[in-house]
């Protein structure tokens, strides 16, 4: 089985990092993993996205094709990638920023106010981790929340205390798991 994730938003929202933490967690679980980015030259603003594929078998193409989970951190990201989401797949919409939530047929849509949840956890800059937690809950296979918690601590090892980051990750997870 392989699972495809597309993290998309604007530069500075941490979509590449969120994808990297997922990929890091997958590699640590001995999964076959690919992470491939696409972004402009801007550090802030512009568009940014990455595709992460995880497999307990060999991952073929690393490029976006039919994501099982789309994490749309803003409206342009949603409009760009919504048409290719796999039937039966999921979309995590950052409803703190995206105000119009669509209802595409055959796809589960989760509105997760990622910026607000991050702010509630007193960790305003970690909306990306909230969305990552939500994506884990929506994907439901290959990686558990605990795997990604460990991956987050490993990837962000230079941060001695990741408790507030983990709190946001878990809050994002709950936003999807408790809505089901």
């Amino acid at each position: 089985m392989t699972k495809e994730f597309v993290f998309a938003g604007f530069g500075g929202q941490g979509v590449l990092t969120a994808g990297m933490i997922l990929a890091y967690s997958g590699a640590a679980k001995n999964l076959d993993v690919t992470w491939i980015p696409s972004y402009g030259s801007e550090m802030r603003g512009g568009t940014a996205n990455c595709t992460v594929k995880l497999g307990d078998e060999e991952v073929a193409s690393p490029f976006p094709k039919a994501p099982d989970v789309l994490i749309a951190m803003n409206e342009p990201a949603l409009l760009k990638f919504m048409p290719i989401v796999k039937p039966g797949g999921s979309i995590i919409i950052n409803s703190s920023i995206v105000k119009t939530v669509p209802e595409p047929a055959g796809v589960k849509v989760y509105s997760v106010p990622a910026n607000d949840i991050a702010a509630d956890c007193k960790n305003e800059r970690s909306a990306n981790l909230c969305a990552l937690g939500a994506a884990i809950a929506a994907a439901g296979d290959l990686l558990t929340l605990e795997d990604v918690e460990k991956g987050l601590c490993g990837y962000l090892a230079k941060i001695k205390n990741n408790e507030s980051n983990i709190a946001v990750l878990k809050a994002g997870y709950r936003a999807v798991s408790e809505s089901a």
């Binding site: 990297m20 990929a23 997958g26 590699a27 992470w35 991952v59 073929a60 193409s61 690393p62």
Partner: protein, 356 residues
Amino acid sequence: MKQLMKGNNALAEAAVRAGCRLFAGYPITPQSEILEYLSWRLPQAGGEFVQTESELAGINMIIGGAAAGQRVMTSSSGPGFSLKQEGISYLASIELPAVIVDVARFGIGLGDVTVGQGDYFQTTKGGGHGGYFIPVYAPSSIQENADFVVKAFETAEKYRTPVIVLSDASIGQMCGSVELPEQQYPKRDRFDWALGADGDRPPMGRKMTDRMYTDFAYEEYVPHICSRYNEMKENEQLWEEVQAEDAEVLLVSYGISSRICKEAVKIGRSLGLKLGLIRPMTVWPFPVKAFRKYNGKVKGYLAVEMIPIPQMIEDVYLAAHGAAPVYAMPTGREIASSEDIIENVKAILNGTKEVY
């Protein structure tokens, strides 16, 4: 245990673990991470890292290091790789083991820093002068970026030949899971041909020169060259087959394009198409042995390469040996798409695609 690494970094780390003692090269996108990584990692492991003033200096320093019997490497891309060709010809002539990495980018001349597969002829047909051939490994994953560097050092020493690792901008720039190889500690004095020696043994009675003038009588030169390259051709072909056994159409593709082909095989099979893949892991020697199994059985080979004007297809054509039609699918500066591949396969099967 697997870990997440960028392709270029995995390649560089694997070189260190293979016991590389000297890297000399010059930065150019999309291979600069190899230098960046080795600039701190190689000295840490007791090796020498030199950022040379040019690619020419890089390849020529490699000749010196190789002559001393050490594992040595250089890397480049695009126009920088072109600058190394004279040195590669000299390595082939002096018969010295060395690893040269080409992280291929797109286009002619300066081209572009994005991915491309336009260096096939340059790497497999002798980019430099004089008619040499050297083994060329074509990784398609982060894991193979690491594994093939180790393999390249081994093959280089087995035949005393330069070896190329033909990576590409996608494989170099993406991240993936990799299980890194064990650290090796090759002994410096393990060769009887190398210049210099450890300990008391003086470096006497050895010379390193263009063999043509000195070591061989003229009439021995040609048979020597022929047996050398024929042996590599016979023994070093590597390839992967994906659902090839019962395939009606076999895709042929290497590097990043082959990964899309694997996706296409999966999708094609789910649609009931008998589709398979031959993926050359060495592009020289080209894996003709794989084709011998399927010539006369398949309805066609479809060569998928990321280039405007196809190159690898000429080797496919030779390998098909007139026993199966060969079709081209050059994808220009776009990475192949599974849909396009499947459309091409359908066209082959219904007879509407033109033979190359």
